[in-house]
Symmetry: C2
Subunit: 245 residues, 2 copies
Amino acid sequence: MPVVTREEASAAPRKPAEHIPNCVTCKTRHLSICAALSSPELVMFDQLVQHREFPPKSVLFEQGAAADFVFSVSEGTIRLVRLLSDGRRQIVGFAIKGDFLGVGLESHYEFTAEAVDTARVCRIPHHGFETMADEKPHLLRKLHEIASRELHHSHDQMVLLGRKNAEERVAAFLISHRDRLARVSNCTVTIPLPMSRSDIADYLGLTIETVSRTISKLAREKLIVVVPDGVRLLDPDRIAALARG
Amino acid sequence: MPVVTREEASAAPRKPAEHIPNCVTCKTRHLSICAALSSPELVMFDQLVQHREFPPKSVLFEQGAAADFVFSVSEGTIRLVRLLSDGRRQIVGFAIKGDFLGVGLESHYEFTAEAVDTARVCRIPHHGFETMADEKPHLLRKLHEIASRELHHSHDQMVLLGRKNAEERVAAFLISHRDRLARVSNCTVTIPLPMSRSDIADYLGLTIETVSRTISKLAREKLIVVVPDGVRLLDPDRIAALARG
DNA sequence: GCGAAGGCTTGACCTGCATCAAGGCTCCGT
DNA sequence: ACGGAGCCTTGATGCAGGTCAAGCCTTCGC
């Protein structure tokens, strides 16, 4: 386990220094849960929202803790971690810009969320958010849509973890991650991968060695090129075909 | 692939012959989505519902088909199947009494649902149900609750598939299946398992041989006894401990 | 009652990925 | 510029579970 330095530990979370962002002018609004809100509702929402920045490796919340907040991610990458008592780790997802944490409105967090790189989020008190959802059925409906999409994606991941080999898993990760990034940015073939090999391994049910070897293999076969902190897809179609199994 | 006999194919779905059941008098009402409905709403709901019986191996709906209906299971066991193009199979869940199929309100089914044994279900036209959900926020809320519980469970399953060994997987399946059965029946230590070893294997990301060997091993260690179409847990606590990993 | 089919178990062997090990690269702090 | 830490890659070896194969049991149609 990496030791968290004094700086990192004390720095989380922090308020952004620059002029405060705002729900009405927010650029990721239409990508996030806020897409469900009308202008007056956005103003109301803005009252609830706390903007926070989480430095790399800092913890947004811990599995099992009281779920006092829900989160909308506006920048960065967050890993969602489940741990077994003996230290085995499974990453159940990576949250990026536009993603929502706490869809379930559960009373306690069901996984730990840790910033991979510097993450900017809108943090909303659970109670206030839930009240608003109870009053605005279209917000609840949006929340349900998000949960449904995640459920679908987690079924994909069950197929991956239960039935795909290492090469298919890595290919599927690259393609699905690219698709998610493409929705919120203009990235299409060069995919930034801020997370470590260890994170990817724990997401795919593999070891770092196997992830590393598999990426090397894909590069040797000229399907991808490894670039600093990411990969470039040379043949997205063949990778997608691999990913399908 | 097993060949479906003429009888089985032609028999699905069929209306139950005996006097028609009814939402208001329904005994599994408080276990299902209907728990969210008031008495007058139940009467309304009853107008929408079609009671159907699906014989073993019959298909309730096919992955990719238009999602014309949602379902509430009142009896029996249903396997939820994802297929890869080369025939590899992953079962993403087993639905039992009280479970709801179609939580996502998606336009197309994201998996195939097949009756394992004889399954009785309430089938509700998608459109009518969705309209009702849009008009009754507490129904939508219940639906969201169900989706959230399933999302949580699918995260558990990701940990199982990504990080647990065969023995832990089988133990976890037995415990989680027992807990789900216990909620809707009085079964606690003798667990009926109407699904085949092959179904269990495809649910746990293993092969039938490994499932069979692992069950034999648990029996040899006096943790369970294999009974016809099920198992009896001799030491539920130790099995639960195994399941946790 | 009999034979065939399907499902389950068990044994023998094989392999894909894990594990163990070593070395290289990059980034920092001094 | 140097040294150490963290991360990544690559090679050698091991093993859990997959694959192949055989036999048993139960069910069911005739």
